[in-house]
Each structure stands twice: as structure tokens, then as C-alpha cells.
Subunit: 312 residues, 2 copies
């Protein structure tokens, strides 16, 4: 029986683990991607206190901090979550089943996929979701990033270190990176921004050879290139939470209050999976801290029944 | 004319400065205590990412990070804040007057004073509010901490490094430090916890010589000692904010929403001065980040009139 099971081993889960273990909760952290999606980012320069480091380094710092205190870590996937008739939860992984007094959902987002012909066939054959992971494969080649967010801009900037030419293709009028990255894009001659344009097909048999566009660029509705990096946002991983009655908004994000509580007693949520307007590493980390404290209060203020049966 | 003037140079103000300067706001930070009240704490081991450092070191890291970006810093006291007829603000220090499109109130708390006879006369003559600052003066002496919070416990633990004996005097049934500090207190033979007891007078002429108690301890209603450290919580510094119509709760804390907005357009608030339930360095820092982003949106989405007259 754990006091708190944290689903998700990203920076949010780590900070919640550190705080809840300090508060002497019996805590377990389960995640399939150690460090979470920030480990796919090469440049983090906005986590207050660290001028500049990689996402992997930031996650490692936070994990090391959590390991100062006793917490159980499992690298694995949560396959099921259900509520008991009494006020406890079962968290099921492929390795074991956890009985928990409270649960923190810190499952983050998964990348939204580009749903065009050719995408499925050419995934990992030129289609990628991570410039940090796959950028070096496109050295001296031509690549494109799809998207207009700050993340998309950062992917393009990173790719420009390898590729000879990088297209940044965005469906709307104007890309919207942070000003600091907008300047970097403007000063990088390898990057060409193409706006008001959608990719309609990814071409190639064994490898990506080009893309089709819905608006001609330099007189042609195809672009020859070797790699397509997709950065069109994420889908909140709120499925498990919904299963136990947690409310989500229209985007599928878990609705929380300022203390990271959901509408279900004993279920907390934090990080990229919640309905926070401005989602950053630092804001997710702080939400994890609020969740740890509220779990501590919840566990100490309630009576728990140990013989637990599934409530269906 | 600044886009954002941040009142308060603690960790909250620094993180807001870093983020807002990254977002290319013209930002000024004004504070009288560089680094804020956390600089009075010797042991910070719960800011996610840093296993253990002093409050001063944490503040210096955050300030150094802010200085990576252009921001104007003034060490000074804000003496007045007022709203213009148009949608802008004047922030007045003893050195200059700032015209601001938006304002972040990150003024924190000041220590609550122990209102008993002898307190005023003996302040800095044995009565202190900072064990880190004054602890070494009580080497091989007897001292007391008044209060029952985690902060009070940490003051007592720090004093035990210097004093031969430390009383921790608390009016309620049970002190309520974090579990990790409760253990340390229990394992420190120099510390004696006295509960259900109030100090009614601080005795001494030139220096503290003892305190009177409202309940006898070991048969006596006085305790002989050399130093009294007061740690009975803080008073939110919300006076300036109230002056421009910002709503506060019964405790005097500024009421904010999840994006650090107050009820007054263009006025944001974050950190120890707001109505967050669980106030930590990390939660204040994240609130500062939310405030920076909302100020960025506010400044970019509104028209501002430059000729500004006081609205009284």
C-alpha cells in the first residue's frame, strides 16, 4: 500500500516524488520515458536557476534530487488504473499492481502526428519527431520542420546545425516562437520560413524524398528534401485519469485547481497533461510540488480501508 | 516607459525578470533586500534541481540567470504606486519614478513581531528574527525560538549549532515542522520543546536575560536565557497593491488566479504576498513565470496612452 503513486517520470513526477518523500509519504514513481519529453530538447535556458543546460541534464538533476529521499522507481508503463469501492486505487503495470491511497497523474503529452498520406510508411525513414535524436542523420541534407510554435522554431534551429537547408513550414500567417528564438531564426540563413502552407503528402518509397504542398512555393507544389520533423503540438495523456472519473476540458487536458487537485478525491494532476495556460518545465514542477503537499494532507486527514475491491 | 515593473527582488521577482526579458519586455526590478527573505535561510534542500544549497546561493543563481537577459535593477524601496487615468502605473522610489504598462507585485512578507513587553526595547539586544544572521552571537549561550512552524524548527536546528541549549516555545499542543525536520529536532539533545506556552514578557535592561511564561516550566514561570528568536510567521506586504484597488483576503494576501492575475488589469502578483496555500520558493518562482507571460500578453494585446495623469 503506497500513500502516493506518481504516474509519469518526467520533471513533474520527479519534483513531486522529492517533495512527497520529504513529507514522508510512501511513494512510487512509474514512467516509461525516464525524464519525460524534456529529454528530447537540447536547449533549456528558462528553468529558473540554471542559465543553460540540456533537457536531459535538467531531468537528471531533478531525478538525483528525488533520489536523496526514499522513493520506489519503476521504469514501465501503467496499463490500468481503477478506483476501489473504498477510497483507494489500483495502479497496474506489466510488472506489478500498486495499491495506492492517492495518485498523481503526471503523464504529459504525446506528440500529435501529421495525418497525411506517406506519414505512416515513412516514420523513422525520414519522418521524425525529435531533432535532438535524429538531427545528425540529416547532416548536409535538406530537412523541414512542420509547425509554428516555439518548439518548432527550436527544432529548426537545432537542425540548422546539421542540415544545409531547413524549411520551417507552417499553416498560419506567422510563426510564433519566443522573441529570442524569432531573432535566431531571422539570423540563420539556412532556415527558410514558408507560411500559409500545409504539407498534403510525404513522398518516398524507402526514404523520404520530398513533400507535396497545398500552395506552390517558388512555382512548385513539391519540395525535394530528406527529412520531415513534425512539431505540431501534443495530445494530453489523460485517458487513465478519465477512466476514474476525472474531468477534462475540450482539449482533453485534466482540469485542476491551484492546488493540483482534480474533481476526484485522492487524484491529483500536474504538468503537461493539465489545463494550465502557460506550460513550462518550471510550472509543471511547481504543480508537482502542490500535488505532493495536497496528497500529504489528503493521506493524513482520511481513513483508508485496506481491503480493496474494484468498483465498476 | 517600462512594459513591466517588478516590485520585489526576491526569487519570485528574479524569475519573473528572466522570463519577461526573454519575452522582450522592457523590465525593471526594484527591491530593497536583494534576493529576498530566502537569503536569511541557511538550508534550502527543496528547490527542485538543487539537492542542497543556502538561500543566498539559490537567490544568486536566480539573479545570475535573470542577468543573462536585459533588465534594469534598482536596489531601493518603492514608496508609492498609483494608477493613471489611462491604463498605466507610476512606481515611485526614492531615486526615480517609473512609468509602467504593467506591474508585478512580488513584495513578499515581513516577519510578524512578538508583541510583548520588552520586545521593542531589546530588539537586536538579544531579540532577533534571523538565526542565520545572529546565531553565532549566541555561541555557548542559551537561546529560545518562539513558534511552531517548519521555519521555527529550522531556526532552532541552526541555533543548536551554536548555543548550548535551545528552547523551542510554542503556544499550541504540537509543533508542525516537515517530518524530516521533526526527526532532526527529536534527535538533537540541545533542543527542548515547550508547548502550550506563551512568552508574556522579555526581561532584561541592556540585554535579554530571560523570558516570562504563561505556564510554569519545571516549576518556574521564568526561563533564564540570552537570546529570543521570533519565528511566528509573516505579514503579506500588500499595502501598495491595495492602494491601486487590488483585492486581498482576510489574511491580507493578494488574491490571484492560476495565471497570477489580480482583479486589476495590468497588475499581477506572485510569491509570498499572494493567497497560495502552500508557499515555497519553487511555487513563488513558477507564479513569477506565469505573471511574466500574462504581462507579455497584456502588454501586446492592449493600447497604451503615454501621457499619464494620476487618478485619485
Amino acid at each position: 500500500m503506497y500513500d502516493l503513486v506518481i504516474i509519469g517520470a518526467g520533471v513533474t513526477g520527479y519534483s513531486a516524488a522529492m517533495y512527497s518523500a520529504r513529507l514522508e509519504l510512501e511513494v512510487a514513481v512509474i514512467g516509461d520515458l525516464e525524464g519525460g519529453t524534456i529529454t528530447l530538447t537540447d536547449d533549456v535556458s528558462n528553468y529558473p536557476g540554471f542559465s543553460q543546460l540540456t533537457g536531459k541534464e535538467l531531468a537528471e538533476n531533478l531525478k538525483a534530487h528525488a533520489l536523496d529521499y526514499p522513493a520506489y522507481f519503476e521504469t514501465g508503463t501503467v496499463q490500468d488504473l481503477f478506483k476501489c469501492k473504498e477510497n483507494c486505487f489500483y495502479v497496474v503495470t506489466d510488472k506489478k499492481t500498486y495499491l495506492a491511497r492517492s495518485v498523481l497523474v503526471a503523464t504529459g503529452m504525446k506528440e500529435r502526428e501529421l495525418e497525411v498520406p506517406g506519414h505512416e510508411k515513412l516514420k523513422n525513414k525520414g519522418v521524425s519527431y525529435c531533432a535532438l535524436c535524429d538531427g545528425p542523420l540529416f547532416k548536409n541534407k535538406v530537412s523541414a520542420v512542420v509547425g509554428g510554435s516555439d518548439s518548432a522554431a527550436k527544432e529548426a534551429l537545432l537542425l540548422a546545425k546539421y542540415s544545409d537547408k531547413v524549411y520551417l513550414i507552417y499553416r498560419k500567417e506567422k510563426i510564433r516562437p519566443e522573441p529570442v528564438n524569432a531573432k535566431r531564426i531571422a539570423n540563420e540563413p539556412k532556415i527558410e520560413v514558408i507560411t500559409k502552407t500545409n504539407i498534403t503528402e510525404i513522398m518516398g518509397d524507402d526514404r523520404v524524398t520530398g513533400v507535396k504542398l497545398d500552395r506552390p512555393h517558388n512555382g512548385s507544389d513539391t519540395l525535394e528534401l530528406d527529412g520531415v520533423f513534425v512539431a505540431i503540438g501534443g495530445i494530453p495523456m489523460s485517458g487513465l485519469a478519465k477512466k476514474v472519473g476525472v474531468e477534462v476540458n475540450k482539449k482533453g487536458e485534466i482540469i485542476i485547481d491551484r492546488s493540483s487537485r482534480t474533481n476526484v478525491a485522492g487524484v491529483f494532476a500536474a504538468g503537461d497533461v493539465v489545463d494550465t495556460e502557460f506550460k513550462q518545465a518550471i510550472t509543471g514542477v511547481a504543480e508537482g510540488v502542490h500535488a505532493a503537499y495536497q496528497a500529504y494532507r489528503y493521506v493524513n486527514e482520511n481513513e483508508f480501508v485496506f481491503t480493496c475491491q474494484q468498483d465498476e
